[in-house]
Assembly symmetry: C2
Homo-oligomer: 221 residues x 2
DNA sequence: CCCGTTCAGTGATATTGTCACCCAAGGGAA
DNA sequence: TTCCCTTGGGTGACAATATCACTGAACGGG
């Protein structure tokens, strides 16, 4: 069973009544998943709601043509609520979730989820708030893809992917998936960034040299 | 107060226990909105959950640059659940809902919504299912915008907008908003469609001449 | 060291978006 | 009616992205 204090690490859950917390802890199970595994997706429907204690999950969609785009990320302290809805609704869920790091998560089963929804106003608010955040994420993706310039978008991604340190180990293909574009496009824009002195590149690695310029570019939305 | 039977017109609500139905009816108010009005949006946050009895609401987003894209439509028998979440979460909600026809809706206030969520498993399922549908809608939009060809997308829109009859009264600009593209692009594609005999055009009006070809094009995703 | 795989570069071409205009159709006011 | 004035739509030139068809370089395992 393990940790009984994990609940308080979720913003919005700490105010749950003690009885509800106990119930939640009793019915949930802590699990570990290695990096690079699909935690859900077409053909791998979980029937648990996952709370991420540690690690990060990337949620992306694959189009019919085989190309991918990253929709959002679930970080530690967040919950992967969208799966819940699609799960309950038995909708064909075209997105998949992939662990980017080793992930520690608490799984609460469907029944417990429903009971919590019934019992606790705070839990309902937690869930709906989590939804709202995801949905605004999706709105942002739509806006970016429909109206954004790729150089601006790429600058933004580089900055957020390299939040710790100036190096990031990633390939042009992976960055193309981030933005839902083609590898060649990324290559060209990165070469442009390099010429302008914003970044340095080597195989599978990008180093940010001039964050300020990238920030300026990223904010010229 | 009016109709007490509206609940049964919502798939998923008809199985609600009688007591819950009564409560719902008692706390809700039927309202009418003329066509072309914004029912929610930045600066116009409702604190009701709306159930559409009649009419249609178009939900669209306006980018910083002023361009629009249609996200989805809420039809009679559906509920505009996404607003709820954003409403509860006090998230800045960048989308707006506009009535496309005269709309008759039932508004249930926030407090009643929350009580229903607590009281009824069926209601919870209704809400979460509605969410799931919207979210898959949004996923589809992202996929289309990121990877779809505009001629294909336009063919699809023409077909779905002209579901009753072969004429549709719309402008090139409106169609551009539908797909999140520019008016000139729509003009060119429509002229191409016209040359190929798929449609006929006059000012503010498009007539579908060859649905079969449009369907074929729309399905060559 | 060879070989297969992954990563990245590039030119040519197609598609889509942007800009700067144009003109025509319709509607209201005098 | 005539004059505007607004709205809808056409178009050419050009910019930004996407696609295709390659190329070779870098790395890893046998």
């Amino acid at each position: 069973m393990g940790n009984t204090a994990w609940i308080d690490r979720f913003q919005g859950l700490s105010t749950l009544p003690a009885a509800v917390k106990d119930q939640l802890v009793a019915e949930s199970a802590v699990m570990k998943v290695p990096a690079g595994k699909a935690v859900f997706g077409p053909g791998a429907v979980p029937d648990n709601l996952l709370f991420l204690l540690k690690g990060r999950v990337r949620v992306q969609q694959t189009s019919e043509s085989g190309r991918d785009i990253v929709l959002y990320r679930v970080e530690a302290g967040e919950s992967c609520v969208l799966t819940t809805a699609c799960l309950l609704a038995h909708e064909p869920y075209s997105a998949e979730g992939i662990t980017e790091t080793e992930v520690t998560a608490v799984a609460i089963p469907r029944g417990a989820f429903d009971r919590l929804m019934a019992a606790s106003k705070e839990f309902r608010e937690f869930v709906l708030t989590a939804y709202a955040r995801r949905i605004t994420d999706l709105f942002r993706v739509i806006d970016d893809v429909a109206f954004g310039r790729i150089d601006v978008r790429l600058a933004g991604r580089l900055l957020s992917l390299a939040s710790d340190g100036d190096d990031l180990a990633t390939t042009h293909s992976q960055l193309a998936t981030e933005l839902g574009t083609a590898r060649e496009v990324i290559s060209r824009v990165l070469n442009d960034f390099q010429k302008r002195g914003f970044v340095a590149q080597s195989r599978g690695k990008i180093t940010l040299l001039d964050r300020a310029s990238l920030v300026r570019l990223a904010e010229s939305a």
